[in-house]
Point group: C2
Chain length 414, copies 2
């Protein structure tokens, strides 16, 4: 396993294949997808091994061939994966791992929102949203005006991440469609309000784009969190990365493609999150505030360019895709037994080799990383993740090929 | 006004002057104290100008002669200050500014406590206290065993600074002696419990020493917060500073000598606070954890040295003494109108010259420091002080002369 796991992805823009598709449909040779998959150990493993196979932690990376596709509403394609176990086992096993392709925009994006304070103690977004609510002119473009939204005003008022539960995990179908109850957490109610304002999620009435602003206490510098099936957002990230090449920035795919989306930016047709750090919770640092303000302006400029018919050609880029969480070491009673090792503190997005110390126990003992391949930890020692028992998140570095966007015909001014 | 304001202080150990003293008593020439005082502008000014004198912000630093002393229980001396206004006014005006001298220990210190988690989201102290409660052996010395205390367990359990109010401002006579009420803040109740455990404050039954452990989000590195009239604690700070000369450390006098003490370490006969940063609230960083653990061990070693009869000779050292708070810029509606300027972010304890930008407004405008002398800002952009509307605290740098401690006769093992 090298430092960079090379893996090919191809997005299938909506409309590329005729609907309905017969099942199973062998793909034409140019679209036959090959790659590899990994089984991961631990409680958050996303691909449990088939019955009778070795325990997850003993499994390796396997070659994989995606062999058929089937359509899934609304407007998404699901690629059903069959794994060919070539070594040390042979056989065929269908899994739930799927690759979605979200539709690419065929029209100018006119309904755009910039949301801050989704977590009420991440101060750049809180104060940018408050500022723009007073002075929205900064968010105007010739073809659209972005709407500023203070996403979690109650949490921002008391400078806490949340009042009752994490708003940015509350945009699931179950929560958005449940009947309101008097004792439900504030954020569940607020998620429904935001879904009315910016969605409804998965509907044609939803906003075209939501840009959600976050801070982290981890040394993530500038990080764009994106759904890797959102071709439009992938283009924005890539261009933002090129425009800001003097300062390191990273593209993080946080959510497994097969799982239901839950974040605020999932209520709109397209969306992404800007995550800037390190900044302590409850602190507003001017440098980070201005960096975020500038990135929002650049994002809106790029949407305007797209609306005006600018070509967004195909490219390749590096992304970091979430593999699994690394939990804190605990005593038998469940108390913290150690802390993130100084050797990996602030080393977000740097390669973590097997055998590197990752925890320092209060007893003085070091705990080494026991994985069998290089990973790239992110959100290292993030304050908000102590309550989730996450010391850091392991990602893999991938190079992905992203196809061109369709070129719109020039749009008249809004 | 130079970068360092030279000012002389002399501590008057208890028992130096006979009690009772006639009033007014001219001091004998060797003890005549000379120095200077400053009037400060703004709402937190500690020395309001006399009636009919110019407004505070126009006043300058004046020469001062302390001319008489009077005793004040328990075991403290109060030096009454008369200001000689030599320019531009002449006259004599008694103020409330006083210099205390706390008694120096005449016996070994055997009742010592190390308190952490006084603020429940300052994680080094929280986890050190929890660790020592499981493994108290680390706090044992030949002549005493320090007691670990998790000061605010309810706030630590939910990882907040406090539940109801700031515990570290709750050790006042009014709060400690008030009758308990059912709806009083948790921390007021807890302060009384701690006063029972470690005090009672100002009594002969009180603990000999309390070492209180804190973190800050400001770039304060290692900072010892001490009452400048506590000669014993001043000696400890000085030695700790010498022992850790490879890393910058600072001595901060936070509380005006004329004001009532309110912090946890004021319940004991002697005490001090170790403040380490920058560390975000709710995050435990191993390097800071180990630095604090090592400083606690060194402090206990020094107390042991004193107990064993080691001489602590006189010395001079630099201290930073709190002048006043600098508030955040606000709109007419009271909202934050700007933030700490990047030019002073992380510049704690560095000289701040008049004319230096201190705030960057959301409008883009810079706000300059308008003082008439160099000051030394501390607690710059501390998360916990937003609710107190403090952007940073201005201090002055002073060189103080600290007399020797009495040498104890060697103590038998405890």
């Amino acid at each position: 396993m090298g430092a960079s796991v090379q893996q090919s992805f191809i997005w299938l823009p909506a409309g590329l294949l005729p609907l309905p598709l017969p099942l199973p449909l062998p793909l034409p040779p140019p679209l036959l997808l090959k790659g590899s998959m990994t089984f991961h150990k631990g409680p958050s493993q996303r691909s449990p091994p088939p019955p009778g196979y070795p325990p997850a932690r003993q499994l390796k990376r396997w070659p994989v061939t995606w062999q058929s596709v089937k359509p899934e509403p609304p407007g998404k394609f699901v690629i059903q994966v069959f794994k060919d176990f070539q070594q040390p086992f042979t056989g065929r096993y269908p899994t739930s791992h799927r690759i979605y392709s979200m539709p690419v925009p065929q029209e100018p994006l006119r309904r755009v929102a910039v949301t801050g304070g989704t977590h009420g103690n991440e101060m750049c977004g809180v104060y940018l949203a408050r500022h723009w609510l007073q002075a929205p002119g900064e968010l105007q473009q010739p073809s659209f005006s972005a709407v500023p939204v203070l996403a979690n005003p109650a949490a921002a008022a008391v400078c806490r991440r949340h009042i009752g539960c994490d708003l940015n995990r509350s945009f699931t179908k179950a929560l958005l469609t449940a009947s309101p109850t008097p004792d439900e957490p504030y954020e569940v109610t607020r998620a429904r309000e935001l879904n009315q304002l910016l969605g409804p999620k998965n509907s044609s009435q939803a906003f075209d784009f939501v840009l959600d602003l976050h801070n982290t206490t981890a040394n993530m510098n500038t990080c764009f969190i994106v759904n890797e099936t959102d071709l439009f957002a992938m283009h924005l990230c890539h261009r933002l990365q090129l425009q800001n090449s003097e300062s390191p920035s990273w593209i993080l795919v946080y959510q497994p493609p097969e799982s239901e989306t839950f974040s605020l930016d999932s209520v709109s047709k397209h969306g992404m999150t800007i995550e800037i750090g390190p900044q302590p919770q409850g602190v507003l640092q001017a440098k980070l505030f201005y960096r975020m303000r500038s990135l929002v302006a650049s994002t809106l400029d790029l949407i305007e360019l797209f609306n005006q018919g600018t070509a967004f050609p195909a490219f390749e880029m590096e992304i970091y895709r979430l593999l699994e969480y690394m939990e804190f070491p605990r005593t038998e009673e469940g108390d913290l037994a150690g802390m993130v090792h100084p050797q990996i503190q602030d080393q977000d997005f740097k390669p973590l080799q097997p055998g590197t110390p990752i925890f320092q126990m209060f007893s003085g003992k070091d705990v080494l990383y026991e994985g069998d391949s290089t990973v790239y930890p992110v959100f290292i020692n993030e304050a908000a993740y102590y309550e989730k028992n996450i010391a850091f998140m392991k990602t893999e570095k991938l190079t992905v090929s992203v196809p061109a966007l369709p070129v719109l015909t020039p749009s008249p001014a809004h």
